[in-house]
Symmetry: C2
Subunit: 261 residues, 2 copies
Amino acid sequence: MTEIPTPGSPETGGIANPPVIILIEPQLGDNIGKAARAMLNCGLVELRLVRPRDGWPNERATANASGADIVIDNATVFETEREALADLNRVYVTTARTRDAVKVTFTPRSLAPEMRALAARGEKIGVMFGPERTGVRNEHVAMADAVVTVPLNPGFTSLNLAQAVLLIGYEWWQAGDNTPDYQIKMADNTPASHDELERMFVHLETELDNSGFFRVEAKRPSLEHNIRNIFNRAGLTHEEVNTIRGMIAAMRGAKHKPGTK
Amino acid sequence: MTEIPTPGSPETGGIANPPVIILIEPQLGDNIGKAARAMLNCGLVELRLVRPRDGWPNERATANASGADIVIDNATVFETEREALADLNRVYVTTARTRDAVKVTFTPRSLAPEMRALAARGEKIGVMFGPERTGVRNEHVAMADAVVTVPLNPGFTSLNLAQAVLLIGYEWWQAGDNTPDYQIKMADNTPASHDELERMFVHLETELDNSGFFRVEAKRPSLEHNIRNIFNRAGLTHEEVNTIRGMIAAMRGAKHKPGTK
């Protein structure tokens, strides 16, 4: 058995008690394995199976987990929902359609911060998923504190089990993730300074002038603005400025030495 | 061939030109089918395949699409990336790891509003996904306007192809979805009024009093507050208030008539 991740371990993104995933009567081992893989993608490590159709362990599950062995090896099997939920403080249930029960319905996105807040105060949380074809039954809704439904194309809401697990896990992970919305990868490059850009533009404009590009003097200012807009939009690096100056020089039959004016 | 969804059709959530999904050298038909299913879940209907390993059409793809026939039947096959991207105005590429290219990197969540804004002004957008095992190559990054990377457990980022397609589609759909974060399903029930609740509490407190529950008079106020907190947190309905009053009456050997004081 793979070692169980210690509380707050890197596998869980440093969270001591990430939500437990409970699959009720899962059928295909493929789906269990893919769900396990999706769980580990999102820092979820504890999988519970209630009456898995094909027994446990399941070769297809292991094969489809694609390396998420820690989840598969530590998965536990229960005969009843009651036992599977016994130690949990808070239980949510995923449903595709509206239920008759009077109950709060979250989206995965709005549920994630609630689960983060509960986990932070030490509560043990579980999210239940029903059998592939039929989904959860009303008795499962009655066991849960609240319902989660993924907003999707109303014309085609049939979501694969592993996909449903992924979306809950994805939102859980995002709620604790600090990745900037928008990053500009520079690799080993350095951003160009405005002075470098200015000198590049003067170089370009001079050579365009020398080539007779500005035929109508009245149009020169707007053409120059357009050209500057194109290159400024690209967010050039120091290295790219040199490449462009080399291109200009080459096209004009000259040679550009990096660093020269 | 299934009829192609008309611009702005219900399948696409009313959007005339949702993003096209481009799979480069996809291998398993299973994954192509599951990607198609995930696409339709999210209102994406146009799938393009560049050099699919096992040819096209592909039985496994159809079987795994689970009814997303509209996507499978209209999928188109291309010999080169250049042809697959020819009519697109804006192209994004998904990568799991950081690239050397100097390029903007979005998260799926930050990309979605950008794609919505571009679609709204009539641009045709595509998102490219690389082969299952190797991901996209540097040449694909160079073809794209920007990169998308899903923030996930850094210890286990290996995402299944269909799962990656789902996450891009999911965020696309959410960016145009108006589902409230938090809904309280009432079915046919009506919420209780505070007057009803007050009468229920008086009923309960009276019967608790009659049963000798408040042994220490000094503790009565805090006990009464605790009890009220429990029931107020539950957001009771009119029907549930009657159920609870019936329970109180039954336990005290009386009969509660709904609507009575």
